[in-house]
Amino acid sequence: MISCKPVANLVEAFSKLPGIGPKSAQRLAYYLLRRPDEEGRNLAGAILALKEKIGLCSVCFNITDCDPCLICQDEERDRSKICVVERPSDIPPLERTGKYRGVYHVLHGTVSPAQGIGPAELKTEQLLYRLRDSSVAEVILATNPNLEGETTAMYLRRMILPLGIHITRLARGLPFGADLEYADDMTLGQALEGRQEF
Protein backbone atom coordinates (compact mmCIF):
# COMPACT_ATOMS: atom_id res chain seq x y z
CA MET A 1 0.00 0.00 0.00
CA ILE A 2 1.30 3.44 -0.94
CA SER A 3 0.85 5.91 1.92
CA CYS A 4 1.66 9.00 -0.13
CA LYS A 5 -1.69 10.05 -1.62
CA PRO A 6 -0.51 11.86 -4.82
CA VAL A 7 1.59 8.83 -5.80
CA ALA A 8 -1.28 6.44 -5.00
CA ASN A 9 -3.65 8.56 -7.12
CA LEU A 10 -1.23 8.52 -10.07
CA VAL A 11 -0.71 4.75 -9.77
CA GLU A 12 -4.47 4.25 -9.78
CA ALA A 13 -4.87 6.53 -12.81
CA PHE A 14 -2.12 4.74 -14.76
CA SER A 15 -3.50 1.30 -13.95
CA LYS A 16 -6.75 2.22 -15.71
CA LEU A 17 -4.89 2.51 -19.04
CA PRO A 18 -5.05 -0.46 -21.44
CA GLY A 19 -2.21 -2.94 -20.99
CA ILE A 20 -0.97 -1.33 -17.76
CA GLY A 21 -1.18 -3.47 -14.64
CA PRO A 22 -0.66 -2.27 -11.04
CA LYS A 23 3.09 -3.06 -11.08
CA SER A 24 3.73 -1.18 -14.34
CA ALA A 25 1.59 1.71 -13.06
CA GLN A 26 3.73 1.90 -9.92
CA ARG A 27 6.95 1.84 -11.98
CA LEU A 28 5.70 4.68 -14.21
CA ALA A 29 4.66 6.80 -11.20
CA TYR A 30 8.04 6.41 -9.47
CA TYR A 31 9.82 7.09 -12.77
CA LEU A 32 7.97 10.41 -13.15
CA LEU A 33 8.78 11.27 -9.55
CA ARG A 34 12.47 11.03 -10.35
CA ARG A 35 12.25 13.10 -13.56
CA PRO A 36 12.55 16.93 -13.69
CA ASP A 37 9.40 18.96 -12.89
CA GLU A 38 9.25 20.19 -16.49
CA GLU A 39 8.70 16.66 -17.84
CA GLY A 40 5.77 16.04 -15.50
CA ARG A 41 4.19 19.37 -16.43
CA ASN A 42 4.55 18.61 -20.16
CA LEU A 43 2.87 15.22 -19.75
CA ALA A 44 0.01 16.71 -17.70
CA GLY A 45 -0.36 19.52 -20.28
CA ALA A 46 -0.49 17.05 -23.17
CA ILE A 47 -3.19 14.95 -21.46
CA LEU A 48 -5.25 18.06 -20.63
CA ALA A 49 -4.94 19.38 -24.19
CA LEU A 50 -6.07 16.00 -25.51
CA LYS A 51 -9.33 16.24 -23.62
CA GLU A 52 -9.89 20.01 -23.96
CA LYS A 53 -8.80 20.80 -27.50
CA ILE A 54 -9.56 17.65 -29.49
CA GLY A 55 -12.97 17.37 -31.09
CA LEU A 56 -14.51 15.89 -34.23
CA CYS A 57 -14.27 17.55 -37.62
CA SER A 58 -17.76 18.66 -38.63
CA VAL A 59 -17.16 17.45 -42.22
CA CYS A 60 -15.34 14.12 -42.03
CA PHE A 61 -15.65 13.29 -38.27
CA ASN A 62 -11.92 12.69 -37.91
CA ILE A 63 -10.40 13.81 -34.58
CA THR A 64 -8.99 17.33 -34.87
CA ASP A 65 -7.95 20.39 -32.89
CA CYS A 66 -9.39 22.74 -35.53
CA ASP A 67 -12.69 22.61 -37.39
CA PRO A 68 -12.72 21.64 -40.27
CA CYS A 69 -9.67 19.40 -39.88
CA LEU A 70 -6.43 20.04 -41.79
CA ILE A 71 -7.28 17.43 -44.45
CA CYS A 72 -10.71 18.94 -45.12
CA GLN A 73 -9.19 22.46 -45.22
CA ASP A 74 -6.48 21.47 -47.71
CA GLU A 75 -7.38 23.04 -51.08
CA GLU A 76 -5.13 20.62 -52.95
CA ARG A 77 -7.06 17.56 -51.84
CA ASP A 78 -9.27 15.86 -54.41
CA ARG A 79 -12.80 16.34 -53.06
CA SER A 80 -14.34 14.09 -55.69
CA LYS A 81 -13.01 11.05 -53.79
CA ILE A 82 -14.12 10.08 -50.28
CA CYS A 83 -12.42 7.23 -48.45
CA VAL A 84 -14.70 5.76 -45.76
CA VAL A 85 -12.86 4.32 -42.73
CA GLU A 86 -13.98 2.77 -39.45
CA ARG A 87 -11.87 4.74 -36.98
CA PRO A 88 -9.69 7.89 -36.90
CA SER A 89 -6.66 5.62 -36.35
CA ASP A 90 -7.20 4.15 -39.85
CA ILE A 91 -6.32 7.48 -41.52
CA PRO A 92 -2.56 7.77 -40.66
CA PRO A 93 -1.63 4.41 -42.30
CA LEU A 94 -3.51 5.40 -45.48
CA GLU A 95 -1.77 8.80 -45.45
CA ARG A 96 1.62 7.14 -45.00
CA THR A 97 1.19 5.30 -48.30
CA GLY A 98 1.33 8.70 -50.06
CA LYS A 99 -0.96 7.30 -52.77
CA TYR A 100 -4.23 8.87 -51.76
CA ARG A 101 -4.98 12.59 -52.12
CA GLY A 102 -8.73 12.54 -51.61
CA VAL A 103 -10.69 13.26 -48.43
CA TYR A 104 -12.01 10.92 -45.71
CA HIS A 105 -15.14 10.06 -43.76
CA VAL A 106 -14.87 8.35 -40.37
CA LEU A 107 -17.78 6.09 -39.39
CA HIS A 108 -16.69 5.61 -35.75
CA GLY A 109 -17.47 1.90 -35.70
CA THR A 110 -18.99 -0.89 -37.74
CA VAL A 111 -22.41 -2.44 -38.05
CA SER A 112 -22.52 -5.24 -35.48
CA PRO A 113 -25.99 -6.80 -35.32
CA ALA A 114 -25.23 -9.08 -32.35
CA GLN A 115 -24.09 -6.10 -30.27
CA GLY A 116 -27.09 -4.03 -31.33
CA ILE A 117 -24.91 -1.54 -33.25
CA GLY A 118 -26.75 -0.49 -36.38
CA PRO A 119 -26.14 2.28 -38.94
CA ALA A 120 -27.94 4.76 -36.68
CA GLU A 121 -25.09 4.50 -34.16
CA LEU A 122 -22.50 5.31 -36.86
CA LYS A 123 -21.88 8.39 -39.02
CA THR A 124 -23.67 6.82 -42.00
CA GLU A 125 -26.45 9.36 -42.30
CA GLN A 126 -23.83 12.16 -42.31
CA LEU A 127 -21.98 10.32 -45.11
CA LEU A 128 -25.12 10.04 -47.23
CA TYR A 129 -25.87 13.73 -46.59
CA ARG A 130 -22.34 14.58 -47.71
CA LEU A 131 -22.70 12.49 -50.86
CA ARG A 132 -26.06 14.01 -51.80
CA ASP A 133 -24.78 17.58 -51.41
CA SER A 134 -21.45 17.44 -53.19
CA SER A 135 -19.90 16.47 -56.49
CA VAL A 136 -18.35 13.21 -55.28
CA ALA A 137 -17.38 10.85 -58.11
CA GLU A 138 -15.96 7.94 -56.11
CA VAL A 139 -16.47 6.45 -52.65
CA ILE A 140 -13.72 4.09 -51.46
CA LEU A 141 -15.01 1.70 -48.81
CA ALA A 142 -11.97 1.08 -46.60
CA THR A 143 -13.60 -0.77 -43.70
CA ASN A 144 -11.60 -3.68 -42.29
CA PRO A 145 -11.65 -6.95 -44.26
CA ASN A 146 -13.44 -8.91 -41.52
CA LEU A 147 -17.08 -9.93 -41.12
CA GLU A 148 -18.21 -6.70 -39.45
CA GLY A 149 -16.25 -4.54 -41.89
CA GLU A 150 -17.74 -6.47 -44.83
CA THR A 151 -21.28 -6.17 -43.43
CA THR A 152 -20.80 -2.41 -43.05
CA ALA A 153 -19.37 -2.11 -46.58
CA MET A 154 -22.26 -4.11 -48.07
CA TYR A 155 -24.79 -1.94 -46.20
CA LEU A 156 -23.11 1.29 -47.41
CA ARG A 157 -23.00 -0.03 -50.97
CA ARG A 158 -26.73 -0.67 -50.79
CA MET A 159 -27.39 2.88 -49.56
CA ILE A 160 -24.97 4.65 -51.96
CA LEU A 161 -25.86 2.71 -55.13
CA PRO A 162 -29.08 4.69 -55.85
CA LEU A 163 -27.03 7.94 -55.82
CA GLY A 164 -25.16 6.77 -58.93
CA ILE A 165 -21.71 7.30 -57.40
CA HIS A 166 -18.83 4.99 -58.34
CA ILE A 167 -18.17 2.67 -55.35
CA THR A 168 -14.84 0.91 -54.86
CA ARG A 169 -13.50 -1.36 -52.11
CA LEU A 170 -9.88 -1.68 -50.99
CA ALA A 171 -8.30 -4.70 -52.72
CA ARG A 172 -7.98 -7.84 -50.63
CA GLY A 173 -5.44 -10.59 -50.90
CA LEU A 174 -2.27 -11.91 -49.37
CA PRO A 175 -0.26 -9.62 -47.11
CA PHE A 176 3.49 -9.26 -47.69
CA GLY A 177 5.34 -12.00 -45.78
CA ALA A 178 2.32 -14.33 -45.75
CA ASP A 179 2.36 -18.07 -46.40
CA LEU A 180 0.04 -19.48 -49.14
CA GLU A 181 -0.31 -22.75 -47.26
CA TYR A 182 -2.00 -21.03 -44.32
CA ALA A 183 -4.16 -18.54 -46.22
CA ASP A 184 -7.91 -18.92 -45.73
CA ASP A 185 -10.25 -19.63 -48.65
CA MET A 186 -11.73 -16.16 -48.80
CA THR A 187 -8.38 -14.33 -48.87
CA LEU A 188 -6.84 -16.73 -51.37
CA GLY A 189 -9.96 -16.65 -53.57
CA GLN A 190 -9.92 -12.86 -53.65
CA ALA A 191 -6.17 -12.78 -54.26
CA LEU A 192 -6.75 -15.01 -57.30
CA GLU A 193 -9.65 -12.93 -58.57
CA GLY A 194 -7.63 -9.71 -58.17
CA ARG A 195 -4.42 -11.01 -59.74
CA GLN A 196 -2.56 -8.51 -61.93
CA GLU A 197 -0.33 -8.54 -64.97
CA PHE A 198 3.27 -9.10 -63.87
Binding site: P113, A114, M154, Y155, F176, D184, M186
Partner: protein
Amino acid sequence: MRTPRSYQTQAITIKQIKLGEVDKILTIYTPEFGKLKAVAKGACRPGSKLGGNVEPLTYSLMMLARGRNLDIVTQSQTIDGFLVLKNNLWYTSCGLYVLELIDSFTVENNENPLLFDLLLDTLRRLCQADSSEIVLRYFELHFLHHLGYRPQLHRCVICNSPPLPTVNFFSYSQGGILCSRCSEKEGEPRPLSVDALKTLRLWQDCDYATARRVKVKPALSSQLRQVMHGYIEYLLQREVKSMAWLEELRGS
Protein backbone atom coordinates in the same frame (compact mmCIF):
# COMPACT_ATOMS: atom_id res chain seq x y z
CA MET B 1 -5.81 -41.50 -17.59
CA ARG B 2 -4.34 -38.04 -18.16
CA THR B 3 -6.21 -35.61 -20.39
CA PRO B 4 -4.26 -34.92 -23.61
CA ARG B 5 -2.68 -31.48 -23.69
CA SER B 6 -4.02 -30.73 -27.14
CA TYR B 7 -7.03 -31.89 -29.10
CA GLN B 8 -8.58 -31.48 -32.53
CA THR B 9 -12.18 -30.57 -33.27
CA GLN B 10 -14.45 -29.26 -35.98
CA ALA B 11 -15.76 -25.84 -35.02
CA ILE B 12 -17.98 -23.05 -36.26
CA THR B 13 -16.87 -19.66 -34.97
CA ILE B 14 -19.90 -17.88 -33.58
CA LYS B 15 -18.36 -14.80 -31.98
CA GLN B 16 -15.06 -13.04 -31.49
CA ILE B 17 -13.85 -10.21 -29.29
CA LYS B 18 -10.48 -8.51 -29.37
CA LEU B 19 -8.06 -9.29 -26.59
CA GLY B 20 -5.29 -6.71 -26.34
CA GLU B 21 -3.69 -5.49 -29.56
CA VAL B 22 -3.46 -8.64 -31.67
CA ASP B 23 -5.28 -11.52 -29.94
CA LYS B 24 -8.90 -12.59 -30.10
CA ILE B 25 -11.19 -14.52 -27.77
CA LEU B 26 -13.31 -16.80 -29.93
CA THR B 27 -16.61 -18.40 -29.07
CA ILE B 28 -16.84 -21.58 -31.11
CA TYR B 29 -19.47 -24.29 -31.41
CA THR B 30 -18.17 -27.86 -31.69
CA PRO B 31 -19.88 -31.25 -32.07
CA GLU B 32 -17.92 -32.88 -29.22
CA PHE B 33 -17.81 -30.15 -26.57
CA GLY B 34 -20.68 -27.82 -27.47
CA LYS B 35 -19.86 -24.15 -26.98
CA LEU B 36 -16.26 -23.27 -26.07
CA LYS B 37 -14.25 -20.11 -25.58
CA ALA B 38 -10.67 -20.10 -26.82
CA VAL B 39 -7.87 -17.62 -27.44
CA ALA B 40 -6.55 -17.11 -30.98
CA LYS B 41 -3.14 -15.56 -30.37
CA GLY B 42 -1.95 -13.04 -32.94
CA ALA B 43 -5.13 -13.50 -35.05
CA CYS B 44 -5.35 -9.73 -35.72
CA ARG B 45 -1.85 -9.55 -37.27
CA PRO B 46 -1.98 -9.16 -41.07
CA GLY B 47 0.21 -12.22 -41.68
CA SER B 48 -1.44 -14.44 -39.04
CA LYS B 49 -1.94 -18.11 -39.94
CA LEU B 50 -5.23 -18.04 -38.01
CA GLY B 51 -6.64 -14.76 -39.41
CA GLY B 52 -9.50 -15.56 -41.80
CA ASN B 53 -9.72 -19.17 -40.58
CA VAL B 54 -11.24 -18.06 -37.27
CA GLU B 55 -13.64 -15.35 -38.47
CA PRO B 56 -17.30 -15.77 -37.42
CA LEU B 57 -19.40 -17.77 -39.90
CA THR B 58 -16.46 -20.06 -40.70
CA TYR B 59 -16.47 -23.85 -40.35
CA SER B 60 -12.95 -25.03 -39.57
CA LEU B 61 -10.89 -27.89 -38.29
CA MET B 62 -9.11 -26.56 -35.22
CA MET B 63 -6.29 -27.77 -33.04
CA LEU B 64 -6.52 -26.47 -29.50
CA ALA B 65 -4.10 -26.65 -26.59
CA ARG B 66 -5.43 -26.78 -23.05
CA GLY B 67 -4.79 -23.51 -21.23
CA ARG B 68 -5.07 -22.59 -17.57
CA ASN B 69 -8.24 -20.54 -18.08
CA LEU B 70 -9.08 -20.63 -21.77
CA ASP B 71 -7.84 -23.12 -24.37
CA ILE B 72 -5.58 -21.77 -27.10
CA VAL B 73 -6.19 -22.24 -30.83
CA THR B 74 -2.87 -23.42 -32.24
CA GLN B 75 -4.00 -24.28 -35.79
CA SER B 76 -7.11 -23.74 -37.85
CA GLN B 77 -7.95 -24.84 -41.36
CA THR B 78 -11.13 -23.69 -43.08
CA ILE B 79 -13.44 -26.50 -44.20
CA ASP B 80 -16.18 -24.17 -45.46
CA GLY B 81 -15.95 -20.38 -45.40
CA PHE B 82 -19.59 -19.97 -46.60
CA LEU B 83 -18.36 -17.46 -49.18
CA VAL B 84 -21.70 -17.17 -51.00
CA LEU B 85 -23.34 -16.20 -47.74
CA LYS B 86 -20.62 -13.70 -46.81
CA ASN B 87 -20.92 -11.88 -50.13
CA ASN B 88 -24.58 -11.01 -49.58
CA LEU B 89 -25.73 -8.57 -46.89
CA TRP B 90 -29.09 -10.26 -46.29
CA TYR B 91 -27.74 -13.81 -46.04
CA THR B 92 -24.81 -12.68 -43.87
CA SER B 93 -27.32 -11.04 -41.52
CA CYS B 94 -29.43 -14.24 -41.46
CA GLY B 95 -26.26 -16.18 -40.58
CA LEU B 96 -25.43 -13.72 -37.78
CA TYR B 97 -28.97 -14.12 -36.42
CA VAL B 98 -28.54 -17.91 -36.33
CA LEU B 99 -25.19 -17.52 -34.54
CA GLU B 100 -26.68 -15.14 -31.97
CA LEU B 101 -29.44 -17.64 -31.17
CA ILE B 102 -26.89 -20.43 -30.69
CA ASP B 103 -24.74 -18.22 -28.48
CA SER B 104 -27.67 -16.95 -26.41
CA PHE B 105 -29.35 -20.30 -25.75
CA THR B 106 -26.37 -22.58 -25.12
CA VAL B 107 -23.98 -22.93 -22.20
CA GLU B 108 -20.30 -23.83 -22.40
CA ASN B 109 -19.09 -27.44 -22.43
CA ASN B 110 -22.53 -28.92 -23.03
CA GLU B 111 -22.27 -31.14 -26.10
CA ASN B 112 -25.16 -31.31 -28.54
CA PRO B 113 -24.02 -32.86 -31.86
CA LEU B 114 -27.53 -32.61 -33.32
CA LEU B 115 -27.50 -28.87 -32.74
CA PHE B 116 -24.09 -28.61 -34.39
CA ASP B 117 -25.41 -30.50 -37.45
CA LEU B 118 -28.47 -28.26 -37.58
CA LEU B 119 -26.28 -25.14 -37.43
CA LEU B 120 -24.00 -26.41 -40.20
CA ASP B 121 -26.94 -27.47 -42.40
CA THR B 122 -28.63 -24.09 -41.87
CA LEU B 123 -25.53 -22.13 -42.94
CA ARG B 124 -25.19 -24.36 -46.03
CA ARG B 125 -28.87 -23.86 -46.87
CA LEU B 126 -28.43 -20.09 -46.66
CA CYS B 127 -25.53 -20.43 -49.12
CA GLN B 128 -27.83 -22.21 -51.57
CA ALA B 129 -29.96 -19.04 -51.61
CA ASP B 130 -33.06 -21.00 -50.61
CA SER B 131 -35.94 -18.94 -49.24
CA SER B 132 -34.24 -17.49 -46.17
CA GLU B 133 -37.57 -17.23 -44.34
CA ILE B 134 -38.19 -20.99 -44.64
CA VAL B 135 -34.55 -21.74 -43.70
CA LEU B 136 -34.82 -19.55 -40.59
CA ARG B 137 -38.24 -20.82 -39.43
CA TYR B 138 -37.15 -24.42 -39.98
CA PHE B 139 -33.97 -23.70 -37.99
CA GLU B 140 -35.90 -22.01 -35.15
CA LEU B 141 -38.39 -24.89 -34.78
CA HIS B 142 -35.73 -27.60 -34.77
CA PHE B 143 -33.30 -25.54 -32.67
CA LEU B 144 -35.98 -25.19 -29.97
CA HIS B 145 -36.66 -28.93 -30.23
CA HIS B 146 -32.97 -29.80 -29.67
CA LEU B 147 -32.84 -27.51 -26.64
CA GLY B 148 -36.01 -28.90 -25.04
CA TYR B 149 -38.31 -25.98 -25.87
CA ARG B 150 -40.26 -27.72 -28.66
CA PRO B 151 -43.62 -25.93 -28.89
CA GLN B 152 -46.71 -28.14 -28.59
CA LEU B 153 -48.62 -27.61 -31.85
CA HIS B 154 -50.82 -30.70 -31.96
CA ARG B 155 -53.02 -30.29 -28.89
CA CYS B 156 -54.21 -27.48 -26.65
CA VAL B 157 -51.60 -27.20 -23.89
CA ILE B 158 -54.31 -26.69 -21.24
CA CYS B 159 -57.24 -29.02 -22.08
CA ASN B 160 -55.34 -31.40 -24.41
CA SER B 161 -58.05 -31.19 -27.09
CA PRO B 162 -57.03 -31.23 -30.77
CA PRO B 163 -57.24 -27.80 -32.42
CA LEU B 164 -60.36 -26.99 -34.45
CA PRO B 165 -60.03 -25.74 -38.06
CA THR B 166 -60.49 -22.15 -36.97
CA VAL B 167 -58.26 -19.43 -35.53
CA ASN B 168 -56.37 -20.87 -32.56
CA PHE B 169 -53.92 -19.14 -30.27
CA PHE B 170 -50.26 -19.48 -29.31
CA SER B 171 -49.23 -18.99 -25.71
CA TYR B 172 -45.58 -18.07 -25.13
CA SER B 173 -45.77 -18.84 -21.41
CA GLN B 174 -47.40 -22.26 -21.96
CA GLY B 175 -45.15 -23.07 -24.93
CA GLY B 176 -47.84 -24.17 -27.36
CA ILE B 177 -51.27 -23.68 -28.84
CA LEU B 178 -54.49 -22.95 -27.01
CA CYS B 179 -58.01 -23.68 -28.21
CA SER B 180 -60.34 -20.68 -28.38
CA ARG B 181 -62.04 -21.67 -25.08
CA CYS B 182 -58.78 -22.00 -23.10
CA SER B 183 -57.37 -18.84 -24.69
CA GLU B 184 -59.83 -16.77 -22.64
CA LYS B 185 -58.09 -17.89 -19.45
CA GLU B 186 -54.67 -16.80 -20.73
CA GLY B 187 -53.32 -13.24 -20.63
CA GLU B 188 -52.77 -12.19 -24.22
CA PRO B 189 -52.20 -15.22 -26.43
CA ARG B 190 -51.21 -14.60 -30.05
CA PRO B 191 -53.85 -15.55 -32.67
CA LEU B 192 -52.64 -18.25 -35.04
CA SER B 193 -54.46 -18.82 -38.34
CA VAL B 194 -55.26 -22.32 -39.59
CA ASP B 195 -52.63 -22.01 -42.35
CA ALA B 196 -49.97 -20.78 -39.91
CA LEU B 197 -50.63 -23.68 -37.54
CA LYS B 198 -50.59 -26.23 -40.37
CA THR B 199 -47.31 -24.82 -41.72
CA LEU B 200 -45.59 -24.80 -38.33
CA ARG B 201 -46.75 -28.39 -37.64
CA LEU B 202 -45.51 -29.59 -41.00
CA TRP B 203 -42.11 -27.91 -40.62
CA GLN B 204 -41.75 -29.23 -37.09
CA ASP B 205 -42.29 -32.83 -38.18
CA CYS B 206 -40.85 -33.07 -41.70
CA ASP B 207 -37.36 -33.05 -43.15
CA TYR B 208 -35.96 -29.95 -44.84
CA ALA B 209 -36.42 -31.27 -48.39
CA THR B 210 -40.18 -31.38 -47.77
CA ALA B 211 -40.23 -28.10 -45.82
CA ARG B 212 -38.63 -26.10 -48.64
CA ARG B 213 -41.36 -27.14 -51.10
CA VAL B 214 -44.02 -25.25 -49.13
CA LYS B 215 -45.14 -22.06 -50.85
CA VAL B 216 -45.60 -19.37 -48.21
CA LYS B 217 -47.34 -16.09 -49.05
CA PRO B 218 -45.84 -12.88 -47.58
CA ALA B 219 -48.70 -12.34 -45.09
CA LEU B 220 -48.40 -15.91 -43.75
CA SER B 221 -44.60 -15.62 -43.66
CA SER B 222 -44.87 -12.47 -41.58
CA GLN B 223 -47.31 -14.16 -39.16
CA LEU B 224 -45.00 -17.17 -38.73
CA ARG B 225 -42.03 -14.89 -38.13
CA GLN B 226 -43.84 -12.87 -35.48
CA VAL B 227 -45.01 -15.97 -33.59
CA MET B 228 -41.56 -17.58 -33.58
CA HIS B 229 -39.74 -14.36 -32.68
CA GLY B 230 -42.19 -13.65 -29.87
CA TYR B 231 -41.72 -17.16 -28.47
CA ILE B 232 -37.91 -16.99 -28.72
CA GLU B 233 -37.73 -13.61 -27.00
CA TYR B 234 -40.11 -14.84 -24.29
CA LEU B 235 -37.84 -17.83 -23.63
CA LEU B 236 -34.72 -15.68 -23.66
CA GLN B 237 -36.32 -12.91 -21.56
CA ARG B 238 -34.50 -10.30 -23.61
CA GLU B 239 -34.44 -9.09 -27.19
CA VAL B 240 -32.40 -10.82 -29.89
CA LYS B 241 -30.38 -7.90 -31.23
CA SER B 242 -29.77 -9.21 -34.74
CA MET B 243 -33.53 -9.73 -35.10
CA ALA B 244 -33.93 -5.93 -35.07
CA TRP B 245 -31.20 -5.66 -37.73
CA LEU B 246 -33.05 -8.15 -39.97
CA GLU B 247 -36.24 -6.11 -39.54
CA GLU B 248 -34.32 -2.94 -40.50
CA LEU B 249 -33.01 -4.61 -43.67
CA ARG B 250 -36.49 -5.88 -44.54
CA GLY B 251 -37.80 -2.32 -44.32
CA SER B 252 -35.02 -0.61 -46.29
